[in-house]
Symmetry: C2
Subunit: 339 residues, 2 copies
């Protein structure tokens, strides 16, 4: 099936799947508060990355014609809409996490543990979906204001569901259809139904892994609130940024760059307490599974010059020394034996 | 296929499909302004109708745990959640129109006419979806605050699409799955992809007709901003409320009650100018197609004692003389010949 899928997408490949980390676009310690500045920069960088290589006017044609809070009129004239050619370079998919949206509601009620027959879990399911779709709408609007033809797509609405918390059914055809029509789908971690336990949380990272396997993008970018993956919690003074992580065919991974003093030393990574769907260990594991497919994964701090370079795809052939971030890539067996 | 579907749903029937008319829940002349008072009453009536016949505490267990605009904290404690048994009487589906959400964006750009290769249409598609999903989220929240386990489902996200503006693919399995899990799906008129013209608008009324055929509800209620269907525009002083409309097997319809003085007189109905998806004529035509399936349709003014009676299902066997509204129902040929 994988080969069939690959063939299917060879004609019109997806260029990039972007994960907007919840911690990068929200204030994780403040309930339901968006980091508007970061979201604006991220949206603008996405636009630049999507049109890179094409000569387009610098003028942004906003696609959010809604009233803003506190404003009574729409600031839009049809004259604002210029020529906008749809190119294959536009083929991006955006998936975002929940940050300070959804986590409160999910963890208070235990939606991830299932049990819809319990009133609290059922109410929590509803409350979680309200919170994450609120964030989704705001992200779609931010992207639309930058002229990105963004369309929100909720996994629950797509009819995706899990079984024992793993994806059981997640048809990507609606997402593919949207991309083929020139839109940028924006998905999110969501509360979904679960065949064995009633309901569960489908995280943005799991969605990305699924998409990577199905859509075979050229590369995947994780935008986070730190510069990449470190050998210990990045707040510690001696924390070392891991520049490159190699992934073996069996899915295990090792640090390629920098060469650590103690090669056998286990990389210390703590699971971030705020993340109910798992922290950095989950992220590396998910990223490694993507890299195994031969797809480069870049983990980089959002809204920096480094994130723009990652999104633009300029790292694909060569990682410049002045780029700050972590590359996770598949390493063929013969190269491993050389090192 | 119809028989198979009918059989499938005989064990767990949908009780009611409710259309929240855009004009009833928004101020149609004010851009993106919700009629909060009506929406609150409608939500409260829906709750009462859904639990009717069951002994439930009067206490409402709110399921919207989000921050309200301008508030910094969530007003929620887990103690608020009591026992909530899911019953078959809860099996409602809500579909809402756009009102002053979406229409502006759709009509300015001509989304309903298609042509996604035009920048204006593409931008309008994005803008329309942002506007209608904003309304959807607010309706889901209003229902959740009344303790209704509402989940927003967008037709576009479901992967529904049209061909020459007619439904080409609209799999209801995600909606059915949500109902079977005890949730109340809340759908809406949406911008969708169209096989022949690129894109189009799928109206709430067309969705309801599709659902009626697929889900075979016991009855359908259209909540509007007037008392029902009149023989001429209801603002005219001599306008007569049509109490009952009969639908023949071939889909044509005629006025049963009251007996009009001029029986051959064509009922005068103007298409409301604000409604890009068609006005009252479309509504009667759609309603007649539902009635042909043997499903009673009630058109009634939202947020009145009459709407509560319609939603509760008490009109099914007998229409009381003091009920204000229009019933549209299938009339067997033999009864037609009697009259």
């Amino acid at each position: 099936m994988d080969e069939k899928k690959q063939e299917k997408h060879q004609t019109k490949p997806i260029r990039c799947i972007v994960k907007l980390g919840g911690a990068a676009i929200t204030y994780k310690d403040e309930l339901e508060k968006i980091n508007e500045e970061n979201l604006h920069i991220v949206s603008s960088q996405l636009r630049q990355a999507m049109i890179s290589g094409r000569s387009l006017s610098e003028k942004v044609h906003g696609m959010d014609w809604s009233k803003r809070h506190g404003e009574s009129e729409v600031s839009f004239t049809i004259d604002d809409i210029g020529e906008y050619a749809i190119g294959d370079s536009d083929r991006f998919v955006v998936v975002h996490g929940a940050g300070s949206f959804g986590h409160f509601q999910a963890s208070k009620s235990g939606v991830h543990k299932g049990g819809l027959e319990q009133p609290l879990v059922k109410a929590g399911f509803v409350a979680t979906r309200i919170s994450v779709t609120t964030l989704n709408l705001e992200i779609v609007r931010a992207l639309a204001r930058e002229g990105i033809p963004s369309v929100g797509i909720s996994p629950f609405s797509c009819g995706w569901w899990t079984n024992e918390r793993n994806i059981a059914s997640a048809d990507v055809s609606a997402v593919e259809k949207a991309i083929d029509s020139g839109f940028t789908p924006v998905l999110h971690g969501d509360a979904v139904l679960d065949g064995s336990q009633g309901c569960s949380i489908l995280s943005g990272d799991v969605i990305i892994r699924h998409f990577a396997a199905e859509l075979k993008p050229e590369y995947v970018v994780f935008l986070t609130d730190v510069s990449g993956v470190y050998d210990r919690p990045p707040v510690e003074p001696d924390a070392v940024l891991l520049r490159e992580i190699g992934v073996r065919e069996n899915g295990s991974w090792y640090v390629v760059k920098p060469v650590l003093q103690d090669l056998n030393k286990q990389v210390e990574i703590t699971v971030a307490a705020h993340d109910t769907t798992g922290g950095m260990v989950t992220k590396i594991t998910e990223a490694a599974m993507i890299a195994r497919l031969g797809i480069d994964v870049y983990i980089v701090k959002a809204a920096t010059s480094h994130s723009l370079r990652a999104l633009s795809g300029e790292l694909r052939n060569n990682i410049p020394d002045d780029w700050l971030g972590t590359v996770i890539r598949f390493v063929r067996q013969d190269r491993q034996q050389e090192s």
